[in-house]
């Protein structure tokens, strides 16, 4: 007897998403990938095998019901799919764009054993965009007020998630943001061409419509301390202040004019819109720009430099491409746009002219030695191999430390020797009662989605601690 059971056809190749041409896009700030059409989304959704025991859900830090929302797309119910995603993730248009899906849901997709995994990120992005473009945003039911006030410090991914979770449960939620615009790293850090600010604005508007209040221009630790906020009637406070303090190389010449931290370079471009014609906040538009570092922020900086008019944009990284912490897709995009890579190369000194402006970067070549604590092979300098790169702007993108403002103003909060706040990874509780923390301020610089996962856990603890229920 032959097997009569109907077998699903397995398509090993993913549906590609069209992108702006590299030559064109490297001169504009518009988004690079263009998104799926409805037909493309359905085709991609149909590739999902709807596993009985899906691994993707548990590998998503906020546990989105991935097969369920994909099944709805396959049926053409895009509004339903969007609502399904939003049950677990209040910011899908953002996560669909900036999550490292290859290390999470897509990394464990059963299809990836033989071919391409289902493009979960692209599909998440598609439903969120579809909902927004069709004005089909559905607002979930908000429970009646429970009389408890929660303050959230920082309006980045962690804070926004806590706000979204708690406002639905009937909490009175206020976010305090230090800058004049909310969104944290989503607005000052990640560039327009990777995450359009209009989308961030819409997702924040969505939370405001649910009842979340946002106080901009409010630096907790300066404008008011946590204790003062408790005195003003807050029952619980969540600290999601991120890793915003730039690390510098500590090499000679680093304070020359034209040396920027990636934070400053990106903030001037993204938040202050230095790329616009009538911008009032300037940024030095280098002709030859060198970015130091190998992470996503370094790629963002090097690609922004091209868009700000650089003839050449060069990345200097002390290890090899294999060790680069940036997502493969970002490295690929950077290369397509013409960013050059000087790998196994470590800066020694920033050279400047008599007026203090950058004129070059002196580097030494490296080779890989024995593995270090991180398991990556340690780069060792090759004696006598130093050389100069001529350049007029240097961007330092080698990482960020936690911002110390809260800890300084509130010494009863325990911190680690790295300056991060000590908080339980499972529930976000800190050493101070009714103070919770999550995101980069606890883990050190990490990803948007991990911060959101932490926000979700902290929101659960706040609910339990204030209402005595789960």
């Amino acid at each position: 007897m032959t097997d009569v059971k109907k077998k699903k056809v397995i398509i090993l190749e993913k549906t590609p998403m069209s992108e702006q041409d590299p030559e064109v896009r490297s001169h504009n700030f518009e988004e690079v990938p263009l998104g799926y059409t409805e037909e493309e989304a359905i085709a991609e959704a149909k590739r999902c095998l709807q596993c009985k025991k899906p691994k993707c859900i548990e590998h998503c830090p906020v546990n989105i019901k991935i097969p369920e929302f994909i099944a709805l797309i396959a049926e053409g119910d895009f509004a339903g799919a969007a609502s399904k995603v939003k049950e677990d993730n209040a910011l899908p248009a953002i996560c669909g764009r900036v999550c490292p899906q290859e290390d999470q849901c897509e990394g464990v997709c059963v299809l990836s054993k033989k071919g391409d995994p289902v493009s979960v990120g692209n599909l998440e992005r598609f439903v969120a965009d579809w909902e927004r473009r069709h004005d089909a945003v559905v607002y979930p039911e908000v429970k009646p007020s429970n009389g408890k006030k929660v303050g959230i410090v920082g309006s980045g991914p962690a804070g926004l998630t806590v706000a979204g979770e708690l406002v639905k449960e009937g909490f009175d939620v206020t976010i305090f943001e230090a800058l004049h615009e909310s969104g944290g790293v989503l607005v000052y850090g990640i560039p327009e061409f990777r995450l359009p600010k209009e989308i961030v604005k819409k997702e924040i508007n969505y939370l405001e419509k649910l009842g979340v209040k946002i106080e901009r221009n409010f630096v907790v630790g300066k404008t008011a301390t946590l204790d003062e906020l408790f005195d003003e009637g807050f029952d619980a406070l969540f600290v999601g202040t991120g890793a915003g303090l730039p690390v510098f190389m500590r090499i000679p010449g680093e304070n020359a004019i034209g040396v920027y931290s990636a934070n400053e370079y990106l903030t001037r471009s993204n938040l202050m819109k230095a790329f616009e014609e009538d911008a009032t906040t300037p940024v030095i538009r280098g002709k030859r720009v060198v970015t130091i570092g190998g992470g996503n922020v370094a790629m963002d900086s090097a690609r922004s430099a091209l868009r700000l008019g650089a003839k050449e944009s060069i990345i200097v990284y002390r290890r090899s491409e294999k060790e680069m912490p940036a997502r493969n897709a970002e490295i690929h995009h950077a290369k397509e746009e013409g960013v050059q890579f000087h790998l196994l190369c470590n800066p020694l000194e920033v050279l400047s002219d008599e007026k203090g402006f950058v004129r070059g970067l002196r580097n030494i070549k490296m080779e890989l030695g024995e593995p270090d604590d991180s398991g990556r092979r340690r780069p060792v300098p090759i004696v006598g191999s130093d050389y100069e790169i001529e350049c007029d702007v240097v961007i330092v993108a080698i990482g960020n430390k936690p911002n110390p403002l809260i800890q300084e103003s509130q010494p009863d909060i325990q911190t680690t020797r790295w300056g991060t706040i000590e908080a339980d990874e499972e529930d976000g509780r800190t050493s101070k009662k009714f103070v919770y923390a999550g995101g980069d301020i606890v883990t050190g610089a990490a990803t948007v989605i991990l911060a959101m996962g932490a926000g979700k856990s902290a929101a659960k603890s706040i609910q339990t601690d204030l209402l005595g229920e789960d």
Binding site: I257, M272, T281
Partner: protein
């Protein structure tokens, strides 16, 4: 929110705004600053708080029109609301009874000096003040500063008022005359601070200078305001704005203040051209 309660012209280019800001008024201490934006497209401008009243809920800022940003700020009228105002930022001046203090202000730097003079005076110090400006019209807060001083001196570069010459020369004279000071505070243009702290530090007086480097966020995020103090890179927004003058790399600070000179000049030129088209 953050309405301009009073607007007063102190000299041709210098304005004083009293701003409704109850939270900042309550928290601010001498030496701290705010960042404001005058309108939706404006840059973020850091300004030291010149005065404040916690009960009445206002602060005062004093600024000189130097570029397009301050020019736009000066266009606002009484009753207008600032687009954005955040603070108080930075570390407060360390205030205690040191004994005899010498406080020196130059140009619009006299404004941030005022709350420090007041606080030091209230802490019981004997206060000597020297304030100066290019000419009589640019000299500000003469009465206010004098009222808080045991000994007050005035200079103008052109001799149109007070002693002719620089504040640094008066400082040199007072010290050479045998006056002893336990602490000096110097605020003004970078070159004035470099020269003047050179005098006080040279005579072994512990001296603080309040620095005004270019900054964006004011909370430690951008690192644009880094200055070298005793060989170490510091962020003026969170580690300062006051630093031990004996260790400040003045030449680097002055270089970095020129980072956007070309841009500023072009912006002002473009702005003037547009005004020309209108009229």
């Amino acid at each position: 929110m953050n309405d301009i309660l009073q607007k007063e012209q102190l000299s041709e280019l210098v304005w004083r705004y009293r701003i409704d800001a109850p939270r900042i008024a309550r928290k601010r201490k001498a030496g701290q600053f705010i960042i404001l934006r005058s309108d939706e497209k404006a840059e973020r401008i850091p300004l030291t708080i010149a005065n404040g009243n916690a009960e009445e809920g206002w602060i005062e800022i004093i600024f000189q029109i130097v570029g397009l940003g301050t020019h736009r700020l000066a266009q606002l009228k009484e009753g207008d609301t600032l687009q954005d105002l955040v603070g108080p930022l930075g570390k407060a001046t360390h205030i205690q009874n040191f004994g005899r203090c010498l406080c020196i202000g130059g140009g619009v730097g006299v404004a941030p000096l005022y709350p420090i003079v007041t606080a030091l005076r209230e802490a019981g110090n004997d206060m000597t003040t020297i304030i100066g400006a290019r000419n009589r019209d640019l000299l500000i807060l003469e009465e206010e500063i004098s009222a808080q001083s045991n000994h007050a001196y005035l200079t103008t570069d052109d001799g149109s008022y007070g002693q002719k010459g620089f504040v640094s020369a008066v400082a040199e004279q007072l010290i050479s005359d045998g006056n002893h000071y336990d602490l000096a505070v110097v605020i003004g243009p970078a070159i004035m601070m470099k020269v003047t702290t050179g005098v006080t530090v040279g005579h072994g007086i512990k001296t603080y200078a309040s620095l005004n480097p270019i900054m964006v966020d004011g909370t430690g995020m951008c690192g644009g305001c880094r200055v070298t103090v005793h060989g170490e890179s510091k962020f003026a927004c969170v580690d300062g704005p006051e630093f031990d003058a004996a260790g400040i790399d003045w030449d680097q600070l002055m270089n970095r203040l020129n980072s956007y000179r070309e841009f500023e000049e072009k912006a002002i030129k473009d702005h003037d051209c547009k005004l020309g088209e209108v009229s």
